[in-house]
């Protein structure tokens, strides 16, 4: 706490002297940085509050720090240096606090690209379902790298501020903007999806009085039990009427149908509602394993049919095979061009999906 008081003292004195000269710049800067600083400082102040029971020193701290931004470099450096000294030895808890902050900051932007990708694919709540989705993760890490750096700014605010306040703040501003934007985007999407599925399943419940639609009647239940059947059944009955005639038998036969049959049925609808559909794969009764590496197939893998023979394998093994001789393990035929594209675009998971889908259509026709 000694260093605290020193730091704040020095920083309190200097503004007095330089306040007139720097007044204009000060206002401008304070305006820009006020909000963001407030956020950062709030977190810090809480830490300090919990640590230090002196209310007065706390006030001084906050005052001092707030003025620090517009300070002249000399005062800045001095104050910051002291602050640094005092922050670091403060020890684990403050760091933890800041880190938590930092994670939460970088978390939501990393969600946002997911949701973008997801909306392309038709499912924004399916971030987890696209496991091994290297592209989305890459892009997310890329786009969140800025925010990460922003996040680390909060961790090591003192240094950043020394170097250049504006850069840091700009980063933060953009991040904050992005955050707000994506959150706004995210939420309505989710809502619409949920309501969509709910209303659809309700439609089914009301419209068709098939015994199987009991699954559709309770949208929560059909996520648990026979999700694939329930939802695809709903869709088809409501929109496409493809399974109308033998609706009753569908649920029994559906699990035996490989996904390549269920895909081409109505690709657009699956695109549109991919989120819920993919999500439902989650509860598939028996996840099979990749015959090459014996690892369990995830949703991505189990819907990935690279060859017209229908031989399934995980994306990793598929990539490895493409790097070697590129022959399907099932039929020993060369993977087709489409699969070649998959190889080059394998990091683009959405493309892999699309191609898998197109492949499956090929198999069907």
């Amino acid at each position: 706490m000694h260093s605290d008081s020193i730091a704040t003292n020095s920083s309190n004195i200097i503004p007095m002297a330089s306040s007139n000269a720097k007044d204009f710049a000060k206002k401008k800067r304070v305006n820009r940085s006020a909000k963001l600083k407030q956020c950062k400082l709030d977190a810090r102040r809480e830490q300090w509050l919990s640590k230090v029971n002196k209310c007065s020193s706390e006030k001084e701290d906050s005052n001092g720090v707030r003025v620090l931004g517009p300070l002249s470099k000399a005062g800045n450096v001095q104050g910051r240096a002291m602050e640094k000294l005092e922050i670091r030895p403060r020890g684990e808890e403050e760091n933890h606090g800041l880190h938590i902050h930092h994670y939460s900051d970088s978390e939501s932007p990393s969600n946002s690209p997911m949701s973008h990708n997801g909306s392309i694919l038709g499912g924004n709540d399916s971030g987890t379902t696209f496991t091994g989705s290297s592209r989305s993760s890459v892009s997310s890490s890329r786009s969140s790298s800025s925010s990460r750096s922003g996040g680390s700014c909060s961790g090591s605010m003192s240094e950043e501020d020394e170097e250049g306040d504006d850069e840091c703040l700009d980063d933060w501003e953009t991040v904050a903007d992005a955050l707000a934007a994506t959150e706004e985007k995210h939420k309505p999407d989710d809502h619409s999806l949920d309501t969509d599925t709910a209303s659809e399943s309700k439609d089914v419940a009301h419209g068709d009085s098939h015994p199987d639609d009991a699954t559709g009647a309770a949208p929560d239940d059909d996520l648990k039990a026979k999700p694939e059947n329930g939802i695809s059944l709903d869709r088809s009955t409501v929109k496409c009427r493809a399974w109308r005639p033998d609706d009753v038998f569908r649920p029994q036969s559906l699990p035996n149908l490989s996904k390549q049959y269920s895909f081409p049925m109505n690709p657009e609808r699956y695109f549109g509602c991919g989120g819920s559909v993919w999500g439902c794969k989650n509860v598939r009764p028996a996840p099979t394993s990749c015959p090459i590496c014996y690892e369990d197939l995830d949703y991505t893998d189990s819907s990935f049919i690279p060859c017209s023979c229908g031989f399934k394998l995980c994306l990793f093994c598929h990539k490895r095979i493409l790097e070697e001789d590129g022959r399907c393990p099932g039929c020993r035929q060369q993977y087709k061009n489409e699969s070649g594209k998959v190889e080059t675009l394998l990091d683009g998971n959405s493309l892999a999906f699309r191609l898998a889908r197109s492949c499956s259509m090929v198999t069907r026709s």
């Binding site: 015959p291 090459i292 590496c293 014996y294 690892e295 031989f311 990793f316 093994c317 490895r320 095979i321 070697e324 001789d325 022959r327 393990p329 099932g330 020993r332």
Partner: protein
């Protein structure tokens, strides 16, 4: 490397689990090296190899399962597609027709099938191949049976 190791571990588990599933095949892994396996296979019935137990040595490459394992007979066998001295096996699935979907177990089954159905047109053992190609089935069978008795059956007395 890591993938092949993982896969071999899985195969090992599979073998342990289904030990009694295929009584004709006994696959055992080297204690210290997961890339070295041994197998004992029973000669198929109604062939000159019936009653014999043949030992195979597997050497699994690091690229497995993308690359096939190298298999050879440790037990002497008189068969057109098995080199009489080295035990090398001429089998398409061990060369260009390999598929990563195959396992060591399925390779053993393929070798048993090869024993029952020799391919004299691509012989590694020319004597054996020539006997078959010249239509001397009886000669081939008696030679094969003799070597089975000599090499693949427990010595009597």
């Amino acid at each position: 490397m890591q993938q092949s190791r993982a896969r071999l571990f899985k195969e090992y588990k599979e073998v342990q689990r289904e030990k009694s599933a295929d009584p004709d095949i006994q696959l055992v892994c080297d204690d210290s090296n997961i890339f070295k396996w041994n197998a004992l296979i029973k000669g198929p019935s109604e062939t000159p190899f019936e009653g014999g137990v043949f030992q195979l040595a597997f050497s699994v490459p690091e690229q497995y399962p993308l690359q096939p394992p190298q298999v050879r007979f440790l037990t002497k066998i008189f068969h057109p597609n098995v080199h009489f001295k080295t035990g090398e096996i001429c089998l398409d699935i061990l060369k260009n027709a390999w598929s990563p979907a195959w396992t060591l177990q399925s390779v053993c089954r393929a070798i048993i099938a090869l024993m029952a159905h020799p391919e004299p047109d691509s012989p590694l053992n020319c004597d054996s191949g020539n006997l078959l190609r010249s239509g001397d089935i009886r000669g081939y069978q008696s030679m094969a049976r003799m070597y089975t008795r000599l090499a693949a059956m427990p010595k009597k007395g």
